[in-house]
């Protein structure tokens, strides 16, 4: 139920001190997540997929070991290389499947389950601000996702050392660290999306809607973007169409994450834009430092943070403006 005269006073958070309630909510939610079967299932899937893709990639690297040794950032190829029998690299699976699933799994019932269990009126009758409820839930979800992704990265490193017999360099560890932060923000996008839906829809509807948006964005995204590019760019200029498509597709967090990952995990990547044959021809091969890589994809990182923040903002406002009844 929404109401235009809903408590705007609750938005003014300065008067009585924000800060205690959201921590209590976040701590409880985090503990609930940890004890849930959903967490165990997701952790198991994540472990299996990671092991499969990374072991396959390691096999691929070993088979060309003699040429591979000199390649900069070879350790990071564990995430980006696909090798038979597994058809996808880890990064692809994370971007298209596991990332969205993790985000949706920890958010789709954030508010709706409180409503269906009848706990929300009781919770809101306690001396905490309403914003602390949704902030606490978002923080808890993001923490558990962060924990899982960091654990996964450590797992990949361990697997890589074992399978490749070499340790990551300090530079590679730095890149992995920056990359995992970006990955957490990307999954945070899906978390914010599913929390937004959970403020308005029931448990079942919000999971269906989240999965529907995932389907559209991941599977039909490129089709939609190329159709749109053909509309805005002169159709006789193939390069212009391709450039327009790249530009438009950056609305999608998945594309932003993919571009950021490509550059962060490969020191030889120097751009995310279209490179023509002539440009590539003259280029002198050299490696970028982490700082340089980061500055190449800084717009992507900022874009991801912005989209996630805006989406959480919508969820926040949607939750603040509705009237909660018994």
């Amino acid at each position: 139920m929404s109401d235009a005269t809903a408590p705007m006073h609750a938005i003014a958070m300065a008067d009585e001190g924000l800060g205690h309630g959201w921590r209590v909510v976040a701590r409880k939610e985090f503990a609930d997540h940890l004890r849930s079967i959903r967490f165990l299932v997701l952790a198991a899937i994540l472990a299996i997929v990671t092991a499969a893709t990374v072991v396959a990639a390691a096999g691929g690297i070993r088979s060309v070991a003699s040429q591979a040794m000199g390649i900069p950032g070879i350790f990071l190829r564990l995430l980006t290389l696909e090798s038979p029998p597994v058809p996808f690299p880890f990064i692809f699976v994370l971007m298209n499947f596991l990332g969205p699933f993790l985000g949706i799994a920890f958010g789709f019932d954030a508010i709706s389950s409180e409503k269906s269990a009848g706990t929300l009126p009781r919770l809101l009758a306690q001396p905490i601000h309403r914003d602390e409820v949704i902030i606490g839930k978002f923080v808890a979800g993001l923490s558990i996702i962060g924990m899982m992704l960091i654990a996964t990265t450590i797992f990949i490193t361990g697997l890589g050392m074992f399978r490749l017999g070499l340790s990551p360099t300090a530079g590679e560890i730095g890149r992995l660290f920056v990359w995992v932060v970006v990955a957490i923000i990307y999954v945070g996008f899906w978390l914010a999306l599913s929390i937004l839906l959970s403020t308005r829809a029931g448990v079942a509807t919000s999971i269906l809607a989240s999965l529907g948006l995932w389907l559209v964005l991941i599977f039909f995204g490129s089709f939609i973007f190329s159709a749109a590019a053909n509309l805005v760019a002169p159709s006789d200029d193939a390069v212009a169409v391709a450039k327009a498509e790249i530009l438009l597709s950056r609305i999608s967090p998945a594309v932003l994450f993919s571009e950021a990952s490509t550059v962060l995990l490969d020191p030889t990547q120097r751009t995310v834009d279209l490179v023509t044959v002539e440009q590539a021809d003259r280029a002198i091969l050299s490696n970028l430092t982490l700082n340089q890589s980061l500055s190449v994809v800084w717009p992507q990182v900022v874009g991801l943070v912005a989209i996630t923040t805006v989406l959480f903002g919508f969820a926040f406002v949607s939750f603040m403006r509705q009237e909660i009844r018994a």
Binding site: D3, T5, A6, P7, H9, A10, D15, E16, H20, G21, V24, V25, K28, D32, R35, S36, A117, G118, T119, L120, P121, R122, L123, L124, A125, Q126, P127, I128, H129, E323, I324, R325, A326
Partner: protein, 317 residues
């Protein structure tokens, strides 16, 4: 008179054209048990949510413990305990864990919370179930846990929305006893809403009868029940046919009407004000075997029905 704990002046809440709560004036003082009575949809829950600052009033003033709940929601909520209608708990957590979460939100220390929870579980009769997940609780057990939950913060005002629904009769007596004790021994103001009038009748110092957002009557239950000077309606069950009953009452002036009741051999009899006793003695003198006598106008149910009809009559004028 001591300072009022809850005070509303011309409180109104409007959704579109409908006035869910209409110019409500309430006043309660410490240690008082106040009943908000009325059918579902009469505006009881909306009133309660406005008192807690969870719904913004359209117009009118509210003071809860001298504070405006719309301006100082946190200060009000830290001093007012609330049991919502159809209260819910996190099903995977135990009763104790659920209460501990509420205690934390109210900034109780861990040791203080545990001590408080132990004593409250005893008070509401859940000592044995405190460590079981709430998912296995019955509806009545959740209701009891809800009362414990509302009491954790040691509230000065306790607001209970339909506290006795889904509790068995014995449990109701216990809960009402607990409510009474809190009010009398600890001076807690208790505001309870209910549509089960005769239960509440026993425990409330004062009641307000709500119909369509308006209070149609306010006062002590016995005053409301007897303030009418009209005829009294009595339902009797007697082991005799209608003809025998009519014969027994043939020459009595107090008799206004007689018609068959809802059950076989039960009759609805209307007599003049204050004549129920005479009716009963006439029947006994005639040797009829009476099995039950119920004075309908004695019940708040009846009062409530009367006001409800009166309200509908005025609405149609």
């Amino acid at each position: 008179m001591s300072a009022p704990t809850i005070l509303t002046r011309r409180l109104t809440k409007q959704y579109g054209e409908t006035k869910v709560v209409n110019t409500l004036d309430l006043r309660t003082s410490a240690g008082e048990v106040f009943g908000l009575l009325g059918p579902n949809g009469a505006g009881k829950t909306t009133t309660i949510l406005m008192l807690l600052g969870m719904v913004e009033p359209t117009s009118g003033d509210i003071e809860v413990l001298g504070l405006d709940p719309a301006r100082n929601p946190l200060a009000v909520k830290s001093r007012v305990g609330y049991l919502p209608d159809a209260v819910g708990f996190y099903p995977d957590l135990t009763g104790r864990e659920n209460l501990r979460f509420t205690a934390e939100l109210n900034r109780l220390s861990r040791t203080e919370a545990d001590r408080r929870i132990d004593s409250l579980l005893v008070d509401v009769g859940l000592v044995d179930s405190g460590d079981r997940p709430v998912g296995v609780y019955s509806r009545g057990m959740k209701q009891r846990l809800g009362i414990a939950d509302a009491l954790i913060k040691r509230p000065e005002i306790l607001i209970l929305d339909e506290p006795t629904t889904a509790i068995d009769p014995e449990g109701v007596a216990e809960i009402l006893g607990l409510i009474r004790r809190l009010a009398k021994d600890e001076g807690v103001t208790i505001l309870l809403s209910s549509h089960l009038l005769h239960q509440v009748q026993a425990v409330c110092d004062r009641v307000a009868i709500f119909v369509k957002g308006r209070v149609v009557a306010q006062g002590a239950p016995h005053e409301l029940a007897t303030d009418s000077k009209g005829p009294e309606e009595v339902e009797i069950s007697v082991g005799a046919d209608e003809a025998d009953v009519r014969a027994a009452l043939a020459n009595q002036k107090f008799l206004r009407s007689l018609k068959p009741g809802r059950l076989p051999r039960s009759y609805l009899i209307e007599v003049e004000h204050g004549s129920t006793n005479k009716l009963v003695s006439s029947l006994v003198e005639a040797g009829l075997p009476l099995t039950s006598v119920r004075r309908l106008s004695e019940d708040l149910d009846e009062v409530y029905r009367r006001y409800f009809h009166a309200e509908e009559a005025t609405a149609s004028v």
